[in-house]
Symmetry: none
Subunit: 223 residues, 2 copies
Amino acid sequence: MKSGELSFTEENYLKAIYSLSERSVSFDTSTNEIAERLRTKPPTVSDMLKKLTAKKLIAYEKYKRVQLTKSGRQIAIQIVRKHRLWEVFLHSTLKFSWDEVHEVAEQLEHIHSEELITRLEKFLGYPKFDPHGDPIPSAEGELEDGKRINLSEVENGTNCQVVGVMDSSTPFLQYLEQIDIAIGTRLKVVGKIEFDGSMIIQIKKKPQFTVSKKFSENVMVTA
Amino acid sequence: MKSGELSFTEENYLKAIYSLSERSVSFDTSTNEIAERLRTKPPTVSDMLKKLTAKKLIAYEKYKRVQLTKSGRQIAIQIVRKHRLWEVFLHSTLKFSWDEVHEVAEQLEHIHSEELITRLEKFLGYPKFDPHGDPIPSAEGELEDGKRINLSEVENGTNCQVVGVMDSSTPFLQYLEQIDIAIGTRLKVVGKIEFDGSMIIQIKKKPQFTVSKKFSENVMVTA
DNA sequence: AATTAAAGTTAGGCAAATCTAACTGTTTTG
DNA sequence: CAAAACAGTTAGATTTGCCTAACTTTAATT
Ligand SMILES: [Mn+2]
Ligand SMILES: [Mn+2]
Ligand SMILES: [Mn+2]
Ligand SMILES: [Mn+2]
């Protein structure tokens, strides 16, 4: 790759560190978490953390947790932006189904061309969300933060709309499809079971059904 | 990359060997030619030739010239197919100008997904030529031999490539040379004059110029 | 507080892709 | 045909990304 450009691998590390950090209170993550996420081994991660530190993309000290620097975070967000725009393209333009887009976007997100993304975004009509309901960062790295909450936090008797998932694995997405839940689906929480946190929900006028706590924790909704 | 998949680099070598071989009578090429094409050094090429031989993608013996095997050729053609389809996408869909598309296509051609190309091709309406007028191989690797037609039959706005002449007289050939047209020259028909069948054509970014009907009837092109 | 468990790093090695310098094989040509 | 010129390969080094095994540091638990 051209000088100044990051390798596929470096980009994947930044993206992993970004998404793992975002879900922690202190906006940081650890060697082992990164290793698990990238299906690699801790020593490999250790090596890369040194390299990313040298490039000033992360703030990191031996044995301590890792945080993205401002510039590392900007780059990570741009990769997320590319990933999600490509997912929209694959779904809306090329008619891939939901659960097929991620793998290919994982490759496309590493194409280096500002102009390409600018034009792609325009062609797609400046979408704000990807096919899984996740927000698409702007060219400036701004992330619209909708008031998305976990389905598991929704009160009894409340209506809400599905806007995203925490888990993008094929089994989960297939289960969602099976029970007819997709991005945009409106549903009502009609009951909760204290014992195990299961939730009874209803879509439109269809029969009610029960989902596990694990399920409701992996679905994001807006109230 | 997944096992069985070729690396970026291997794919670029196959593509280079393919296009260099195609232009030779014996359908082969040499270490130095490849090195020059890929802006690398001969020892680097030597190494890769060994590797590609082991994978049975080329037929090669030390100090001899290189030829693609059947399977190597098929792979090379698929990369060319991807490259050209992406160029159409960049030009027709994203409105890149035709001289901007190549560099980005050079990256996109290495995305691994059959399904992606199948759907992209469908979305683009099964184009037969890329923005430079080069033919797009079919999914089966068939390369339209570009049926030779008379330049005078070419539609407005179409790119074509000069492949022969009807008249081989010295005056005609001298005229061709004078206006910088030779076998292989790519040109675009930018207008036609009803009155006398004259044709306005353009080569690359040079100024347009007009040729007579008698001229265009004596030039053979592939669409 | 001392011990154990876990998290994380070094050490050392390997494969891919690249380079320069030095060598060998092939071709051209006086 | 012998010498020079050219083409091509081998040797040895470097960088990146990855691994296992062994070690060190930090955290948790008794
Ligand atoms: Mn995704
Ligand atoms: Mn990726
Ligand atoms: Mn091209
Ligand atoms: Mn390429």
